[in-house]
Symmetry: D2
Subunit: 350 residues, 4 copies
């Protein structure tokens, strides 16, 4: 019997429109390193969609690379980056931030989210200590949107983070590895064009959103743009054939393909979520995006695993595991239906 | 009225015997960088006191420098150091470990101590994760002895840490900034000569134990000795007039001065602790060493501060502060008596 | 009039066979991070071509990233990497090696090559100095093959480098960004299957050899393999859709496509070289590979630039510039003929 | 027969006035980390001598530490420090600059000096290259005064360096490990009070100038002062008993002791230089300061070495060695006379 993958949102190649565009442009000759016309055109398309002209946009290959390059470009040697304890940079990037010299100042999160009040207190505590130069100075804020558990911050929350960052003169950076899946969610009150007012910089994820690879970094704050291409090159993130990134993002930002891809994936994720809930399973988080985290009895895991790929996430009590099911542009209706039926079947037998 | 300092154990210069020895040797000509006869002789005296000949002993100037040099000399780029969340390297060294590229893997502590079980779980969790290469690998263990709240680990606890480290092939390093104050405590079942069997490396603190400055690093494990002098030099820790460290440690390890200094300080600390307890004050930790952490009502702090120097440590509930009183070789009976009387007086008025 | 690019060997997309294979496999579902079947199969194909089974092969995205990851994975903090002063890591990687903490120990080169004697002297000088711990210890050797000026080392030279490295117990690493163009040269007495006997590790370049991107790192020496995937991830080089690298290298190593591409490019480069020589121009180096460096009067540069893309390399005397013309899999006969005719025409008018 | 040391200027302890002052202040209680009254007072004394009030002065323990802390506090990750190829940071600090992430951009020196024109060209070349973001950006200038061969830069030269640095907006930093020996030289047209007009920051060496240890860093440029104490602490340079540095520099800057020490040493160095010259020996450099570098036949080295300590510096032709003789505050007339007689005796026998 056919096995369907929900293990992540990067199990296949690229959206067909991207592959086709790569083929069409294959023999065009361009200069390297992202200074070609495809990149220029993609930068313009993104800026237009963001409703702003004065943006500095760079294309990098992957998320860990983008995070490490951005964060180390901003912080002074004695500064750290504030983030949620479950933040990707704190857990799943092999210490890339520390590798480049900076402490991650992790705050305890609730369902993967932190609050503006926590961030404010982190700065206040630091400067309140008489010996603060013996401690790492908080230097910027990192937020994931959606978070690692698929959660969203509201406009109001984000504006409050912005106010805290303004108060302490600290840049706010948003990791948008799955940005599209967040923005299209019916539970999201944020539009992509709001982001330049909230974040000093953010990246629009491509890898998990239908590209072969690639992330589009948007630097809003002019003070953070200086010599950024040196940082990219030094950190090994400057693709020789930079055009590949321009071609991909140009395609994603033509006719809102980026958002159409996301919407379809989120709808499928909701069908899966609803099926789990209908079958009486709890969810680890109330995720309104393309990642869903049902809590399953360990005894059921092998049966699920026979038919479907998914990822173990964490223990969730005696005999219970939270697991992750992801959807993407490549998730088929056939796969969703197979999963939904299987869940219902399981529920009946309980 | 005279004000007495208990703010730390490094408020004065050096023990008079050290100053005298520096004066006596001042015009001797030696080679630099710790390769002189005074250093050799101090190394021999320490090795003798440790009951072992096969030790590699280096002198460094300060604790942060020693910790950063040792830890970065051991870890691979992708490894981190396991320690208590309140560990000095995690809190009060301005991120020196991260500055050199490594994450501090902080474990929650109870009264500043962690357990061998926690450390074992930290390693097991790492290797148990299928994607462990996406996470920082625990590479060694850092313990403070005494801890940041003046607490001690027992022989049994230390042997259990040793066993965990052996199990995971991870070096065990002990920060002994206040080692003497721990070893002489009546609550300590450890002798200095036990340390080489427990730790792969440890340092014997001088700065807080009567020297002008200086820490004696003992590398027990031959595998960790290679080219260590390069590490010291590269990290700015190789004193040109290295002899100064040899002279100081030579003096401290003549006639057990190091231990006599410590014993006197701990006895004085106990008189202070007893006075606080007799007056009905709680202590933040049950410290058996030269640092004592009474919990005082905020309203009393200004009155104490008029007469005595001490350090604010942390909030300890509504209207309560934990503060630190330290003793050292330089603490006078007069100072202790003044404090003890003052505490009793305060208590009477309550 | 049509303009032809010879500016570099990465002006176009990918060899058509690669694009086709990407399209064919696009909807296959695989796990991420290079642990999929396409990568496995590519690793096997490369190992087979190298005639060895016991090799550790990793795929990375780009050359700077590969060099920095490899070199920083090998060196101790106090060690540096020995290389030619014109070495790519010393000049054109924005200090990526230093960024990760290591000095590049640059040796003066002749026509971009260094000698085994120079390397031997570098090690001998270091250890011969009484205060060698005050200096960076040479820790490994980096060679480019072909070099930055398109030159080759002979079997004999490489064996002598190997002997020097064995003498000083230092790993030998070869940067093969353009390895294929070197191996197919009629002036090369080395076969790809000789490399594992010479180098501790080397990479087979893809970016400049017909792939969209990607480099295949071969770790021969088992001692250098440990936890290498952590290094890749930490340095931002672990592609989520790692399969893309497997698919590309699998294609390049099917039916020796890698070598056929290289051969065609080198033949075209020779036609260009011969034309320049016939026209009486000197060459900066006697390059037997796909990069050619004619020395042109500055007055001719604008005329060349109207018709052809090429890169300024360096001043080469009063009024003279050395420039670079590159060929690749994508260079057409039409382009070569246009250039050859143009050179002849220029010569006639001189 | 008594052997006299000329091997370096840090063979003894401290100038007696310093030791005495340490003894007098030993039991004073102060706060730690350089915020005590002794440090304040020393800062005032230095500022007064420099004729400027608006200076930021910090005390660090050693030269390598000071250089690494300063340089890494200034440079962006992609920047390097320009210096002479024989600069201390390039040769004798075990790559401490690279360890903290930055390339040393070494310029060829003549008799240990570089020129403003070379520095200007270094910046111009960088920005002149179309792909400059692929190269390390020169970010500041490091000069030693005196240089590693005891040489001096003139006012005019220093002003020209200043102008180049202004042109490229790059800080100018002077390593004054032996500053006093330079300033008192009859060949020096610079006064210490000129330094704040020339350098953005510089340090006044103590270790080699009569202190037990310690360097006084003067930050002139307000833009470079921000959070500097964090840098010191993070790099392990913040002495717990910071008072020791204040006491020493306070003493050195009382009644111009610093300059009197230097003058005496330079006079003695000149007697030695004159003796070598009178005896017909060449000097490696025309040093007008306390380090002298005679070139001796290798055959004479053992005879010198029987009676005097000196340091081998470098080969200086077939059968010839350049060696270094240093004087300091501790060099006795007896020692100088013994050496001068010995040289004359050698010369007679030639």
């Amino acid at each position: 019997m056919k096995k369907f993958q929900f293990i992540c949102d990067y199990s296949e190649g690229a959206h067909p429109a991207i592959l086709q565009r790569l083929a069409e442009t294959n023999m065009c000759q361009t200069v390297g390193y992202g200074e070609d016309e495809f990149c220029d055109s993609a930068r313009k398309a993104i800026a237009k969609r963001l409703g702003r002209e004065d943006l500095d946009i760079h294309f990098l290959v992957g998320g860990t690379q983008t995070n490490a390059t951005v964060i180390s470009s901003i912080l002074k040697p004695y500064q750290g980056v504030v983030c949620a304890d479950c933040g990707h940079i704190n857990v799943h990037e092999t210490g890339a931030i520390e590798h480049l010299g900076h402490k991650v100042l992790a705050l305890p999160s609730l369902s993967s989210k932190i609050t503006p009040e926590q961030v404010d207190a982190c700065f206040a505590d630091h400067y309140g200590d008489a010996n603060h130069e013996h401690m790492v100075q908080p230097g910027m804020l990192y937020l994931s949107l959606p978070t690692e558990l698929g959660m969203l911050y509201s406009q109001a929350e984000l504006k409050a983070f912005r106010a805290v960052c303004d108060k302490w003169k600290a840049p706010l950076y948003i990791d948008g590895a799955r940005l599209g899946y967040g923005l299209v969610s019916p539970f999201c009150d944020l539009r992509i064009e709001d982001l330049p007012d909230i974040a000093d910089l953010f990246y629009i994820g491509g890898t998990k959103q239908g590209a072969l690879f690639g992330e589009a970094l948007v630097i809003v704050n002019p003070a953070l743009r200086k010599c950024f291409r040196y940082h990219i090159k030094q950190n090994g993130g400057m693709l020789a054939k930079g055009r590949l990134l321009g071609i991909q993002f140009g395609t994603l930002f033509t006719d809102d393909l980026y958002f159409r891809i996301s919407e379809s994936a989120v709808n499928k994720a909701f069908r899966i979520r609803d099926a789990f809930r209908a079958a009486g399973f709890e969810m680890l988080s109330d995720s309104p995006t393309n990642q869903q985290f049902p809590i399953l009895p360990d005894s059921l895991l092998p049966r699920f695993a026979e038919r479907f790929g998914f990822e173990f996430w964490q223990r969730a009590g005696e005999g219970l595991s939270a697991v992750r099911f992801c959807t993407s542009w490549a998730t088929t209706d056939e796969a969703v239906e197979a999963l939904v039926s299987f869940i219902a079947e399981i529920a009946d037998k309980k």
